[in-house]
């Protein structure tokens, strides 16, 4: 189902699958204690909005693809009872955390009985990029004709990674020789790769500032996003350059901010999409890097304790080869791009790997000095990405769909929005999708 191998060939369903409706819940920095704002509650909101947006009745939906993991890294304490009002508000499954600290198809269907004709369900690990690709494939394969793809995030109080094994003076974990055990900061491997990048190609951390500033500016024009809703202040280069270090050369603003939110998308056959309320956005292909093990999608295996810059670059280049082949396009066909950015430095790897705007390795920082805005010739992340709207990994999908439909509002790029790439996550574990205004 996931096209992770080299030489994947042109996607067999190229142009025959379409996205139409988009639905977002509100956002919050953390769960505020209101059962309606739980990850389950907000997933219901997102699904209803997506169906309304597409003009699709709930009983027309016959497929549901979700990610069951909803944690930003924060977990509900095992010895803390679930809030009684949450338990009373929603139909429960056998798992008491369902709808609260995780999400199952069963929970959604129990609490949305109006989705009474769902016949195909699939649970996908982790990321919206994987969820969307799985839904595209399922529709293309004829397993579902009108499918909802959904992803939710919960963000409880507390710092992720604090406590538990990290509070002990011993380390019995499986990764005891790698960065997560010896450093703990998730951004460290990418920061270390970027230190090598500066050593190899030249450049400085400050040269990322135009990208960060552009992303936040675009994010503030994303009404569905966290910063537009809660912190609508522009970000300056000085803000970026003076932010505290987390793992130098990565500072606080190179890290995306966890939030609580949910999003849903309506995916259908291209034929079915013709009757929907929004203009169809056609899927030309999907592909990426990683390996599957049972139901899991795992990163590419590499030798050594930490992935090197060269390995990241090789994976980014492989991603480009695969997605371009899958979609039967070249870099010059891209009107814009909305690849993953949380950590922001991933975006450099993706841009250079894709050869976006003719970029080669080591050229992205100089490229950021040019006009990368939504009004320029080479729009970079018009969604604003996670940097611009908080950690969800879905802003690229929402923006790419809206740009191609011509309803991105103040974010609408000046040049025609015809073909674009979106998705992620990091180079060695990713699925990208190419979306288009025409079926090809």
């Amino acid at each position: 189902m996931m096209r992770l191998q080299e030489n994947p060939g042109v996607w067999e369903h190229r142009g025959k699958v379409a996205v139409t409706g988009i639905g977002h819940s509100p956002t919050s920095r953390r769960w505020d204690g209101d059962p309606e704002h739980s990850v389950g509650g907000w997933t219901i909101v997102a699904i209803k909005k997506a169906l309304d947006d597409a003009g699709v009745a709930p009983e027309e939906v016959d497929g549901l693809v979700i990610s069951d993991s909803t944690t930003t890294g924060a977990f509900w304490p095992a010895d803390k009872p679930l809030p009684e009002d949450f338990v009373a508000r929603f139909e429960q499954t056998g798992d008491p955390m369902d709808g609260f600290g995780k999400l199952s198809v069963e929970w959604i269907l129990k609490n949305m009985p109006e989705l009474k004709n769902v016949k195909y369900v699939m649970t996908v690990p982790m990321c919206i990029s994987f969820v969307m690709a799985a839904a595209f494939q399922a529709v293309g394969d004829g397993k579902t004709g009108t499918c909802v793809a959904v992803k939710g995030w919960h963000n409880f109080e507390g710092r992720y990674g604090a406590g538990g094994a990290n509070s002990l003076p011993t380390d019995a974990g499986g990764g005891k020789f790698g960065a997560f055990s010896l450093v703990g900061s998730p951004v460290y491997p990418t920061a270390m790769q970027f230190q090598r990048y500066f050593h190899k190609y030249g450049g400085t951390h400050e040269m990322l500032a135009p990208f960060i500033v552009n992303s936040r500016a675009n994010g503030l024009l994303m009404p569905e996003g966290f910063f537009a809703q809660h912190r609508p202040e522009p970000l300056t280069a000085e803000d970026y350059n003076t932010a505290r270090w987390i793992a130098k050369p990565a500072n606080l603003l190179d890290n995306d901010m966890p939030i609580q939110a949910a999003a849903a998308y309506v995916i259908s056959t291209a034929e079915r999409a013709q009757d929907m309320a929004q203009k169809p956005v056609y899927v030309l292909g999907h592909a990426g890097s990683g390996r599957t093990m049972g139901d899991m999608i795992l990163p590419v295996k590499w030798r050594g304790s930490v992935e090197s810059l060269e390995q990241a670059e090789a994976c980014a280049a492989a991603n480009a080869r695969k997605i371009y082949e899958s979609a039967a396009i070249t870099a010059s066909d891209l009107s814009f791009e909305n690849t993953y950015d949380g950590f922001c430095m991933f975006h450099v790897f993706h841009l250079e790997g894709l050869g976006y705007a003719g970029l080669k390795r080591g050229e992205a920082l100089e490229f950021f000095k040019t006009d990368i805005s939504r009004d320029g010739p080479n729009p970079v992340s018009p969604s604003g990405g996670n940097i611009g709207s908080g950690r969800t990994r879905w802003w690229g999908f929402t923006d790419t769909i809206q740009q191609i439909q011509g309803r991105a509002g103040a974010r609408q790029i000046k040049k025609p929005a015809e073909i674009a790439i979106t998705g992620g996550m990091m180079p060695f574990s990713s699925i990208f999708s190419v979306l288009s205004a025409t079926p090809g």
Binding site: D171, F177, R244, W245, R303, S305
Partner: protein, 137 residues
């Protein structure tokens, strides 16, 4: 640095036992002619354990890159913030890197490309030794 004491498991016990003897050993697959680290049950290249064995290596290496850590959820490291976290390419093992805090080198003065040599340092909680690297002066 107050590094946590690794608790050996079946996979990494040979490696950690060797550290206690001031020796650095790395898994090697003779079929693929490649080293592998961290320890795994089978070779990443051929997915087999048939030609997998531990090999002692010199431990000399080259500084590949680093970061300076200012924030970590690992409690035992809090008092040492900020600190260097350095990646070493192991000279005898092409494609293999390992991590060190690079004792003896001031924070953020890590010389990428410099030659380093391994030392074995006891950890606080159990006394289990772990490899660290120092710049060869």
């Amino acid at each position: 640095m107050t590094r946590r004491s690794p608790i050996p498991n079946d996979l990494d016990k040979p490696f950690l036992d060797a550290c206690n003897e001031d020796r650095l050993i790395v898994q090697y697959c003779s079929a693929c002619d490649q080293f592998q680290f961290p320890p795994e049950a089978s070779c990443n290249g051929c997915d087999s354990a048939d030609n997998f064995a531990w090999r002692e290596v010199s431990g000399r290496g080259t500084i590949y890159s680093y970061g300076v850590v200012y924030d970590t959820p690992i409690a035992s490291l809090h008092e040492d913030l900020p600190f260097n976290a350095v990646v070493i390419d192991i000279d005898d093992c092409p494609g293999i890197n390992m991590m060190t805090y690079l004792p003896g080198t001031p924070v953020d003065e890590v010389p990428i490309g410099a030659q380093v040599d391994v030392i074995f340092v006891p950890t606080a909680a159990t006394g289990q030794k772990v490899p660290e690297w120092q710049v060869i002066r």
